[in-house]
């Protein structure tokens, strides 16, 4: 309803895909939220990629960051908390013609959704996953997240968080994801580059973007923001296909490094399943569906 006035007229088929065509609702994020920059960068990435608009699918779980798909005028939506990856993996596997992007927060991805992340990664399903990591639960108003540092004061840790946080890069490098990168929402060009490379990668690609929650964790990422006196250190002299080296890089102390930690080529689940189908069809000599099922019943006579 409210989106009616905001939607641009459709681009003619074949016309270049513009930010204007991609803009849907006005984001409901707090003014200053890091997620705005991620959204703006994503528009730019899509402008560069020039996929047909109708072939793009943006999905998300639940969280502030997960409202992302409402602001992108493509097919897609908002699944349940933590399970956007298995949903989206199926979209990718079922429809190799689509371009699948998944967005979410640190809670969505590493807490409730942590296992799906690992298993989608080891299956190497062809899609791009962007984690907007703000080290806090934003939508539910400031509880400790699995990336909140020890000592962070939240509503569930009023005297400071005590559980050791997970290390996103180490976890992702180990997961089996075939493209793993890290960026920062204030570093727009870097972010665009990382997302574009992730999108062009054939396989399961993840970008973790440090995206500040100005409401509940102000200044969390200043340490990596040169404009705030921090250091935005890029990865250098690293062989991204070396998983152990990537793991080591990921173990650097805060604020760590930015760039592509790991990149490898390994058959995607999409390709492997296509292979099974091809083999089966070879065995059945191209029989039609009716014939095939009739044959099964014949055996049961």
């Amino acid at each position: 309803m409210s989106s009616a006035t905001l939607t641009p007229p459709p681009a003619a088929p074949g016309a270049p895909l513009t930010k204007k065509a991609l803009t849907a609702d006005h984001p409901t994020w707090c003014p200053g939220c890091g997620d705005f920059a991620v959204l703006a960068s994503f528009y730019r990435v899509l402008e560069r990629l020039q996929y047909p608009q109708e072939s793009i699918v943006t999905m998300a779980g639940i969280g502030c960051s997960s409202r992302f798909p409402y602001f992108v005028n493509t097919h897609g939506g908002h699944f349940i908390h933590g399970r956007s990856l298995p949903f989206s993996a199926a979209v990718s596997l079922g429809r190799d013609d689509l371009h699948v992007f998944v967005f979410g927060g640190d809670g969505d991805g590493f807490s409730i959704g942590g296992n799906h992340l690992v298993h989608t990664a080891r299956k190497n399903v062809n899609l791009t996953y962007v984690i907007m990591d703000n080290f806090v639960y934003g939508l539910t108003k400031k509880q400790t997240s699995p990336t909140s540092p020890i000592g962070f004061k939240s509503k569930t840790d009023p005297t400071g968080a005590i559980d050791q946080p997970i290390n996103p890069m180490r976890t992702l490098v180990n997961s089996g994801a075939t493209f793993v990168a890290r960026s920062h929402a204030t570093q727009v060009n870097h972010m665009i580059e990382m997302m574009e490379r992730a999108a062009r990668h054939d396989g399961f690609s993840v970008v973790e973007i440090l995206s500040e929650c100005v409401e509940f964790y102000e200044g969390a990422f200043d340490g990596a923001n040169p404009r705030k006196g921090g250091q935005f250190k890029l990865i250098e002299n690293h062989d991204p296909s070396d998983q152990v080296a990537a793991y080591k890089l990921a173990s650097e102390p805060w604020p760590g490094l930015f760039g592509v930690f790991y990149e490898a080529t390994r058959p995607t689940k999409n390709a492997l399943e296509a292979g099974l189908i091809a083999k089966a069809r070879e065995r059945t000599k191209g029989a039609g569906d009716l014939e095939l099922l009739q044959a099964s019943f014949r055996k049961a006579r």
Binding site: H75, F79, G94, L293, A300
Partner: protein, 634 residues
């Protein structure tokens, strides 16, 4: 005790076989049998119930399966029943085959023939043999009660003869095939077909295995049983088979899997759990032939998420599980209802709650199917009544899921999942549904959630003429699928989701009542209680009562007009395998009482993890209703 070796030990010669159609059993005493017989008048049976009792390692499931397949191939009706030990390393296990020319409705309350491999098998199952029935026991293992004259015992050194036939090396493997041979001879089964089945099964493996199998079979077939055969079982020539379609014999899970394929379902996801697993195994194996994909996921939450993703991507998909796994799917299933995504969810029910009784049968997940998710989630729930309907229910589920853009739950059960029945091969030419993506451009006025019509999603990949792409979400939303916090919109969308189920209800045919169209008792059932209930109706009517049966496949919404039927009976008793709960009503009885507020609806319910015996229903009815006194009053 054992009768030991006898005269004729030569290689068997197979007479020209006729297909057994009706089986005459006489129980007159003959020299070949132990002890004294009980009743001795030969009597004609419409069907025969054979129970094989041993351990799960003995391969009795295998020969039971052969018998069932054979019966199906011979245009007989057949139904099997088996128990699987819950422990991992095997244990006591049975396989029961009932076959005959009439319609076989249940696996049988009593056996006509019991084959007992061990002392434990004898002890546990002799009570199941009908008085006058025949007991074949392995005289190398079993010592029977010589004073029990209710049955006709036949001791055969099954173990010894098998080892002898096959050679010492293979221990006692092959006892099952020895017994199969014996039964083939006794019932004059079609040996050509039977050995064909054996070869199909063992032919793929090493030469040795097949040879040993055939040696054991021949030994059983050749075992001198002519006296027994001629006196106990008289086999008649088959009636002319009707011109109809050939029979197929399948278990319920396979039938359901094939039904999904016929319905055009090509994608799915699941996680293993007994007794659901074999559906996912079949689909994982079969779907690639059809160009589809079945994904084994990390858990059930992922499984339903994948299935919803496939469906959203335009491929009506299936997921399934049994009890515990269904509980895990409830959040995502609620999303499916909210986002109005077509989906098929199979629940092969087993004994609950929690891990419960994984290898037993129960119908205790009905209320969960309807109310397992938070919020108001109108659900379509179907249940097949037998193996044949496992096939057709999948077609109906897919039809409804597509037409009403909604998840549909199919409640099968452990009993149906593994039992084998024969039924007419479906007319696939007419039934097959071609799965197709609709990627056409959607018009300027496209809205996925119009308030005045049933939702039809635009498959990703479809251009939207207005340039305004729709979203799917679990938040309450407006007609474009965008989140809306508007109170009135929530109420309207709740209505939209509810009213489409009413539209479905209005198009459902009212099932026909079997038996008396009015009178004393209407027995209402759903799912696999159909067969035993039908037989119980027969018995009760034979006793003079006016009894009807109403069986529901559409559990929610129900077809319209049930109230009128209910009013024609003094009692409505719902027969189901679940707990009558704190207020005394089983789960379906609860739903019917809530809907209709008719106090004459009551329950015949139990949860012992076993299929209803016909007699249990008859007794249950008589306990609740004094048919005689009432009959007198009427």
């Amino acid at each position: 005790m054992a009768r030991g070796g006898t005269d004729c030990d030569t290689a068997p010669h197979y007479p020209h076989q006729i297909t057994p159609v009706s089986i005459m059993v006489s129980s007159s005493s003959e020299p070949l049998t132990d002890g004294a017989p009980a009743a001795s008048v030969p009597r004609s049976l419409q069907d025969v119930v054979i129970r094989l009792a041993g351990n799960s390692q003995d391969g009795i499931q295998t020969i039971g399966g052969f018998l069932a397949r054979l019966a199906g191939r011979s245009d007989q009706d057949v139904m099997t029943y088996m128990t699987i030990p819950a422990t991992i390393s095997g244990g006591p296990s049975i396989f029961q085959v009932r076959m005959g020319t009439g319609e076989i409705l249940s696996a049988g309350d009593q056996a006509d023939l019991l084959v007992a491999f061990y002392q434990e098998s004898y002890a546990s199952h002799i009570g199941f043999l009908r008085p006058g029935g025949v007991l074949i026991y392995d005289s190398d293992h079993v010592k029977i009660d010589a004073d029990d004259h209710r049955f006709t015992p036949v001791g055969i050194p099954i173990t010894g003869r098998t080892v002898e036939a096959v050679g010492g090396s293979s221990k006692d493997k092959g006892k099952n095939l020895f017994v199969l041979g014996l039964l083939a001879r006794l019932f004059e089964l079609d040996v050509a077909k039977l050995t064909g089945l054996v070869k199909d099964r063992f032919g793929g493996r090493s030469e040795d295995i097949l040879r040993n199998a055939m040696l054991a079979f021949d030994a059983g077939y050749g075992y001198p049983s002519d006296n027994l055969r001629q006196s106990f079982f008289r086999l008649e020539a088959p009636a002319a088979t009707e011109g109809g379609r050939p029979k197929v014999t399948l278990d319920g899970n396979t039938a359901l899997s094939y039904g999904l394929i016929a319905a055009g379902v090509r994608y799915g996801a699941g996680y293993p759990i007994t007794p659901w697993s074999s559906i996912m195994e079949t689909l994982r194996t079969e779907l690639s032939k059809y160009g589809g994909i079945f994904v084994q996921t990390e858990d059930e939450l992922a499984a339903i998420s994948y299935a919803l993703g496939f469906s959203y991507a335009g491929h009506l998909a299936v997921t399934g599980s049994s009890g515990p796994g269904l509980s895990l799917k409830m959040e995502a299933l609620g999303w499916g209802t909210m986002a109005e995504i077509p989906l098929i969810v199979i629940n092969v029910q087993r004994g609950g709650p929690s891990t419960g009784m994984p290898t037993n049968v129960e119908q205790s997940d009905l209320l969960q199917a309807l109310y397992g998710s938070h919020g108001d989630t109108p659900r379509v729930v179907l249940a097949p009544k037998n193996v044949e309907e496992c096939f057709y229910v999948a077609l109906e589920a897919a039809r409804i899921a597509r037409k009403f853009s909604t998840p549909v739950i199919i409640l099968s059960d452990q009993g149906l999942s593994s039992r084998i029945e024969a039924f007419d091969e479906p007319e696939l030419e007419k039934l097959m549904v071609d799965p197709k993506l609709n990627l056409s451009e959607r018009g300027l006025d496209f809205k996925p959630y119009p308030l005045d019509r049933i939702t039809k999603h635009a498959t990703p990949g479809s251009r939207i003429a207005s340039g305004k792409y729709p979203t799917v979400t679990g938040l309450e939303h407006d007609e474009m699928g965008h989140p809306s916090g508007n109170s009135a919109m929530h109420q309207k969308m709740n209505e939209k989701r509810r009213e489409k189920l009413k539209a479905l209800a209005a198009e459902l045919p009212l099932p026909e009542v079997y038996g008396d169209a009015e009178g004393d008792v209407l027995l209402v059932g759903w799912g696999s209680t159909w067969g035993p209930v039908r037989e119980a109706v027969g018995r009760l009517r034979a006793g003079g009562a006016k009894v009807g049966q109403l069986h529901l496949m559409h559990l929610n919404p129900m077809p319209l007009g049930i109230d009128a039927i209910f009013r024609r009976y003094r009692h409505v008793l719902v027969v189901e395998m679940n707990d009558p709960g704190i207020y005394g009503f089983g789960q379906m009885a609860m739903l019917l009482r809530a809907q209709l507020a008719m106090p004459h609806i009551a329950s015949v319910a139990k949860t012992d993890g076993l299929t209803f015996k016909v007699n249990e229903i008859v007794v249950g009815v008589n306990k609740r209703v004094d048919l005689n006194r009432e009959g007198a009053r009427a």
